[in-house]
Each structure stands twice: as C-alpha cells, then as structure tokens.
Symmetry: C2
Subunit: 199 residues, 2 copies
C-alpha cells in the first residue's frame, strides 16, 4: 500500500472499512473517485455528511427520518392500531415494498444477542410498551428475522405483551415463493407445515 | 427506492455511481454509513475531498502525487535513464510492488482507443518525447496492457521512438492476454519485467 500517495492511501483505508469491501475493491473505488469530476466527488462527500447530519430516529417508531415523525407515523391514512415490529429500517422498507401493509411500525434496531452484548434494554422495548399502554393498539405483528436472534426477540416481546389486551402475531415462516420443496431446508419446511392454514 | 428518506436516497444514488456497485450494495454501504459514528463518516467524506484537492499529476512522469514531482521522480536513487511506460498509476503501483524495477516511469493515463475518442494526443506522448530528447535515456520499457489498446499503443510508441538512440523494449507476454496489469500478481509481473525483449 505504501506505493500510493498518502491521501489516496487514507481514502482506500476509509473505503475498506465498508463491510464486504476489501483492499482491492477499495483501491478500485478510490481510483474511480480520483478520475471523476471534483463536483461529483463533492456531491458524494456532501451526501455522506448530509445523511449523518439530517437523518435521525422517528420519535414514535424509531424509523430513520429527517423529520420529528417519519413519513409513515405522520401519515393519517396509516392504521396506528396495528404495529409491526421489525429489527431494522431495511426490514421496514422490505415490508413497505410489498404494498400489503397499512399499519404502523416499531423498529428495534437490533435483536437479542447476549454474546454480542445486546440485551432487552437495547431494543426500544420500553417505548413499545408505552405506545401500547398509551393508545388503542389492536394487534402487534412481530416481524423479526426468522433466525435464532429474531426468534428469541419475538419470544421476549410476546412475553412482555402477554397481559396486554392486544393480539400478538408472528409473520409466517415457510417455503419462499418460487422455491422448490426439494431444495428447501428442513427447518423451513418444518415451519411451513407448522404455519399451514385451511383452504 | 421511494421508501427511503431523501438524504438516504441521495446517498444511495451517489454510491451506486461506483463501478460494480449496484443499488442493493449501495443501500448496504449507505446503511453502514448511517450506523457508523459521525466522526468516521466525516473522515470518509474528508478523505474523498482531500484526494480531489491535493492529488495531481507529477510534472515529469504524470504519476499521481501531492508534490510537484512524485516520490519516484524525486528519488535520486532511481535510474532516470530507464523509463517504463504504463497506462495508468495502478499499473505503476503493480510494477513497484514487484521490487524488480529501479528506473523511472511515464504514465499515459490511457491507451489508444479510437472508438472511445482516445488518440495519440491524449497520452502525454509529446512530453515523453521531450524527456527522451532532453536527457540521456538508455531504454524505454513499454508496459502498456497486453490487450488490443495496449498493444496498439506500444506499436505507436515504438514507431515514434524508432529514430531516437534509445533501446525500446516491451514487457514479456508473461502477463496473460486480455488481462489488466493492476490485477496481475507480482510474481507474473516480475517475470514479465525480467523477460522483456527489444522491439
């Protein structure tokens, strides 16, 4: 690396901090920046700082937003009596793109992972409880990831909410659309059987 | 994409301009920036601008540098009577890492590509000629890429220099055809330097 001029070396080092970006890819990205116009580079640098300076968490649901309330919480057409709990803003976006859901969200920004030091206090659960206690909420849909962390988080939330007058549901786990049963792992198939419903 | 807050969407758009970075990867990188500290993000943004503001071309060889002369041209231990011609600064770095070469360089910043509008006037060839005419140069090693553009550039340079009292050599085709110098391992590159022959 010592062959590069120091500013280039610094940029490569910064770019290589990205997940999944190694030294070679970082050098390629730095090379792209070196060859683009200064206006383009400035737009990139500014958009990085803009995101850090303007984006914060929605006061109600902890989604990412520029405002006090996120676009979903601020939308009067959304059903605030249904709250879908997700681990992160990307999961929220994935659900939004289905167009199937018109309720509100609650973003945990993580899942239980004791070995990584992530416990119940790190998941905005107190704020979830306040939302349910302070307002009419019919249903809580737990849409944490279908893995060990997401499952234990779902279990924890269902325990916390068990004495509240609210329906608690978990998104279905099953065979993905377009999938093939013979290539589906048995955990998924087992869940698909468990979540079956009458037709 | 419309699910993202506008600053996030802008950042994703900027990141997706990188070669080989699609929308999904750009969203993942944006997500990383969102979650890192503001100090880390600022260091990234600043290193982007630092590279644009401080890096320019070496007065002599057109390598990237912060100074008037690059570290190689400024190094009195380098043999200035041998000039290695490369297409881009990454190729120079690749050759430097072999440790096999102690001469100077000349960076073309491209190769002949008539269809892309890159002709002889775009390759700092006049400056190469001045270097050879103004100083004692024993040998010119043409280390353009082993592909159609690099080969025609090599041919052009050997024609331009044929009446000069300088040995013209081409790096050996130890490097695989169709490849790119910056992605070649240093053993192969070292061999290619060692096996160069006159043209």
């Amino acid at each position: 690396m010592s062959q590069y001029a120091p500013p280039i070396e610094r940029l490569i080092k910064e770019l290589a901090r990205f997940p999944g970006i190694g030294e070679k890819t970082a050098a390629r990205l730095a090379n792209f920046i070196l060859h683009e116009s200064i206006a383009d580079a400035r737009r990139l640098a500014e958009s990085i700082m803009e995101v850090k300076e303007r984006i914060h968490l929605c006061r109600t649901c902890f989604n990412l937003t520029e405002q006090d309330l996120c676009a979903i919480c601020a939308n009067p057409a959304r059903d605030r009596e249904v709250i879908c709990i997700v681990q992160d803003p990307d999961a929220l976006i994935a659900i939004e793109t289905t167009g199937e859901y018109r309720g509100a969200y609650h973003v945990l920004h993580g899942a239980l992972a004791p070995l990584d030091g992530i416990g119940p206090d790190d998941l905005h659960l107190q704020e979830l409880l306040s939302r349910i206690e302070g307002h009419t909420v019919r249903e809580v849909i737990i849409a944490t990831n279908p893995d060990v962390h997401g499952e234990s988080t779902a279990l924890l939330i269902s325990k916390i909410l068990q004495n509240k007058s609210v329906t608690i549901s978990r998104i279905a786990m099953g065979v993905p659309m377009g999938g093939d049963l013979k290539y589906t792992d048995r955990m998924t198939l087992g869940k698909a059987m468990e979540f079956r419903r009458g037709m």
